[in-house]
């Protein structure tokens, strides 16, 4: 396995978010991590990148533990994240954003080659290379964010909500790019609230609910699994739903309705 999370616990300050989460991504896979908002999906990616401190468990990349390593070291090890809401350097140009993506690399000639590669992959970015990143449309910004992450030539790409705020057609296009990443030999862990779009391109998927993995399996199976819909919208079918039933009982007792 390229990336392994072993009973990872973490959170922000006093707010615990992840509880003993275990997850694995194999080389060449697209793995989707889906779940409702607030489930802890972004926290999981941020924990891998050491942007959120790990408070328990271990994270291994290519067999070696990266728990306790600082973000720059993790980037150099071959991980790159496309953060939620893209987090571009808005006042800087498209090309500057891309070059920043290669900050951790030492091979200047190689950087130029990668830059060219990204411009071939996303021709629109070449057209806009001297434009400030904040003047790009939402879809173009997402492409720039992906290309920027690619500039470090990562072995594993972490994508956080790439579909957020995009029109359906644009979502499809971004998902195509993710498939292309894998075709070029990459490995992707994609976090999505848009479960259908993510599972359509993924090999495997995990469902995160309230900081815990509740369901996992092949992507095609998850798409049809009623538990997935419940993770988002609730329901009274399964045992996990006991809390809702119990709250309703209390409501009748206390409020009489």
């Amino acid at each position: 396995m390229l990336l392994e999370l072993d009973r990872v616990t973490s959170g922000y300050g006093r707010l615990p978010v992840l509880h003993e989460v275990s997850l694995a991504v194999g080389a060449g896979e697209i793995v989707a991590l889906i779940g409702a908002n607030g489930a802890g999906k972004s926290t999981l990616l941020n924990t891998v990148m050491a942007m959120v401190p790990l408070s328990g468990g271990d994270i291994r990349f290519d067999g070696a533990s990266i728990a306790g390593a600082a973000t720059p070291a993790i980037v150099r090890a071959g991980l790159a994240q496309v953060p939620e809401r893209r987090q571009l350097f808005g006042a800087m140009t498209v090309e500057e954003n891309l070059r920043l993506g290669a900050y951790a690399r030492a091979d200047r000639a190689g950087v130029v080659a990668t830059l060219d590669e990204q411009f071939r992959q996303f021709p629109i970015l070449r057209e806009r290379r001297r434009q400030a990143a904040q003047t790009l449309s939402g879809g173009e910004q997402q492409m720039l964010a992906i290309a920027r992450a690619m500039m470090s030539r990562p072995r594993l790409m972490l994508l956080d909500e790439p579909s957020l705020g995009l029109a359906p057609l644009m979502v499809t296009r971004i998902m195509d790019q993710i498939v292309a990443l894998r075709a070029a030999g990459g490995t992707v862990l994609v976090v999505e609230q848009n479960a259908r779009a993510a599972l359509a391109i993924a090999d495997r998927g995990y469902v995160l609910e309230n900081g815990r993995i509740t369901v996992s399996g092949a992507a095609a199976e998850l798409l049809g699994n009623p538990a997935v819909q419940e993770a988002y919208l609730g329901g009274q079918g399964s045992g996990v739903r006991a809390i809702e039933t119990s709250i309703r009982k209390k409501r009748r007792a206390i409020l009489g309705r």
């Binding site: 959170g11 607030g38 296009r173 848009n194 479960a195 259908r196 359509a200 391109i201 609730g234």
Partner: protein, 613 residues
């Protein structure tokens, strides 16, 4: 406050009074007594500064400017108009406070280092004015020939008598400071320092209390300036320059930023230190040592001397045994049902056409819905749907671009958070906005703010009604803690509690303001299943009191179980509304949460996409 803490405070206070009283007996010479006078004057100036800087975190570094105002008013009135020195001192206080009142509102709109710079600039302007206004101030040479201190004809020509007079005034300032410290205003200042967001949510008028402290601080500084002028028998522009500002700052930092009497302690320590350096012929080292002390204390001992002494006392007087266990069984009978509630079915809150954009993004687009009195309504939607923005619009934390929000028919969309809280709308926060610099009980007491009436004057003098009101506030806060099941946690700092219990403190604080409507932002986030169920029960108990509940929540088990009514948002718009079981079935809601079915890209639609991009 526990009996032990009260005891400790009295003991320390008595020790300080005795030390100051007997000092002239040991050092009766005019020089050492003079040093004592300088220390006393500075002690008076530190009290207001501690409240402003240490309590409210306002970086008003230029407060020494008000010593200069006091000193000049006093000197000019005594020398040119033959006023009685004490009357002139009072006049100086009045002038300084009036000037501060004029300056305060605009300057305290600034915050952080911007305030620090503006405040220093203000002081430097005072100095330039003193140098340039030669006919009034005597210019760079200053006003000479200030008489010895006297109170309505009774002269304090004797240095020792003046020493005692100076320290009595310093202690009056400390007394006022202590009265403010243990009142609702002291809590308000700490609340402002800890979280202005939360301070607004309990109805604390942030600007008002900052202004009050600025004015009081100016008055106390003016007293110190007057005393200094009578001691030096002159007043010139160099006495209270930048260097004095820094000494004042060092004094309160060394003494302890979070203790009213720490400033007085620091003033004494600083004055003593300066004399020591002078006697060692090292006066040039003063600045280096003062700076070092400031930096080292801030880096390593943020509590200063007062904190260190307090910790020592705690160690000496510690009794065995941990803190009392926290009761977790809530007491639903602790709070009475809310009276004067509008009948069920009345529209409590009505949001009409609410719109808010950030740049090109319409975060909330024309959203309308009503909340009926006595109901539980939940606002839900996928990530980025605009729920939190809408919540902030209702709470007054962000202005609306268009639309109205009415609370019981009254438009509230242009009100600030504290105004909205004072109407009877309580609020809790997703990421916990507790006041960590206070105990749990004090946190909840802050919630009573809108129901308290004692003002700054009666609090400064600690009139009997202040004590009565404090007792009532304390009782009500305890009842709110009992209601949420935190009896016994009152004296703990919030940080000593688990995350789930801290959330209960926030709910108790919101309940303490006896709200008609309570806004809860993701109350179940970060809770485990047991805590989540308890929380849901608590929300039901709150509703049973007659309080209307509007919550944003992503835990669907909670939402579906609790709510009478759901409002579903997506991409900033309302896409559905209704009872939970109905909403859950709506295809549009399912699509919003789970996403559209991904379209298999075909050659045709791929070329279409090219055009879009």
């Amino acid at each position: 406050m526990s009996a032990l803490a009260a005891h400790k405070r009295t003991l320390a206070f008595a020790a300080a009074v005795v030390a100051i009283a007997i000092y002239p007996l040991f050092y009766p010479g005019s020089y050492p007594v003079g040093v004592g006078i300088v220390a006393g004057a500075m002690a008076a100036a530190t009290v207001g500064f501690v409240l402003l800087l240490g309590y409210a975190h306002q970086l008003a570094f230029g407060q020494a400017g008000f010593l200069m105002i006091g000193g000049y008013v006093n000197a000019i009135l005594c020398v040119n108009y033959r006023w009685d020195p004490f009357a002139a001192l009072l006049a100086g206080v009045v002038v300084a406070m009036l000037l501060a009142l004029v300056i305060a509102r605009p300057i305290l709109k600034l915050r952080g280092f911007v305030l620090a710079i503006a405040s220093l600039a203000m002081q430097l302007i005072f100095i330039v004015a003193a140098i340039e206004a030669v006919p009034i101030t005597g210019g760079a040479l200053g006003t000479q020939g200030v008489p010895k201190f006297a109170i309505f004809g009774v002269s304090f020509a004797n240095e020792i008598a003046f020493y005692y007079a100076a320290w009595v005034m310093a202690f009056i300032c400390v007394g006022i400071g202590l009265n403010i410290d243990r009142s609702r205003i002291g809590r308000a200042l700490k609340a402002i320092a800890a979280s202005e967001t939360a301070a607004g949510s309990v109805g604390i008028e942030i600007v008002t209390y900052k202004v009050q402290m600025f004015v009081i601080s100016a008055g106390m500084a003016s007293v110190a300036g007057s005393l200094g002028a009578h001691y030096l028998r002159a007043m010139d522009p160099n006495v209270y320059g930048f260097a004095y500002s820094l000494n004042l700052l060092t004094a309160v930092i060394i003494g302890g930023l979070t203790s009213v009497w720490g400033g007085a302690l620091g003033a004494t320590a600083i004055t003593g230190l300066r004399e020591l350096l002078r006697s060692l012929s090292l006066p040039l080292w003063e600045s280096v040592i003062m700076g070092m002390l400031t930096v080292v204390v801030l880096l390593a001992f943020p509590g200063g001397l007062a904190g260190a002494i307090g910790a020592l006392f705690d160690r000496l007087t510690r009794r065995g045994g941990a803190a009392a266990p926290v009761t977790v069984e809530p007491d639903p009978a602790a709070l009475p049902p809310v009276t004067g509630m509008p009948p069920p079915g009345t529209i409590m809150l009505s949001v009409d056409g609410a719109t808010r954009s950030f740049g090109n993004l319409r975060a909330v687009n024309h959203v309308s819905f009503n909340v009926e009195a006595g109901s539980i309504v939940a606002l839900i939607g996928p990530n980025g749907a605009g729920k939190t923005t809408l919540f902030n619009l209702i709470g007054g934390y962000q202005p609306l671009d268009a639309g109205t929000v009415k609370f019981l028919g009254q438009p509230i969309e242009s009100l600030m958070p504290d105004d909205i809280a004072r109407l009877g709308i309580g609020r809790t926060f997703q990421n916990l906005q507790l006041f960590d610099n206070m105990t749990v009980l004090e946190n909840v007491m802050c919630g009573r703010f809108r129901l308290n009436t004692c003002g700054i004057l009666s609090i400064s003098a600690r009139l009997p009604r202040v004590a009565r009101e404090e007792a009532a506030t304390r009782r009500a806060a305890r009842a709110a803690l009992d209601f949420v099941g935190l009896r016994g946690a009152g004296d703990m700092p919030p940080t000593a509690l688990s995350f789930g219990h801290q959330r209960l403190v926030e709910i108790a604080r919101a309940l303490a303001l006896e709200p008609k409507l309570i806004l809860m932002d993701e109350p179940a986030s970060g809770l485990n299943d047991t805590e989540t169920e308890r929380l849901a029960e608590l929300v039901l108990r709150i509703a049973a009191l007659g309080i209307t509940v509007l919550l944003v929540e992503h835990d669907m088990r909670v939402v579906m179980g609790l709510a009478d009514q759901l409002v579903v948002m997506h991409h900033g718009e309302k896409i559905a509304e209704g009872a939970p079981d109905a909403v859950r079935q709506e295809p549009e809601v399912i699509a919003a949460y789970l996403g559209q079915d991904a379209v298999e890209p075909t050659a045709a639609n791929r070329s279409a996409q090219e055009h879009v991009a």
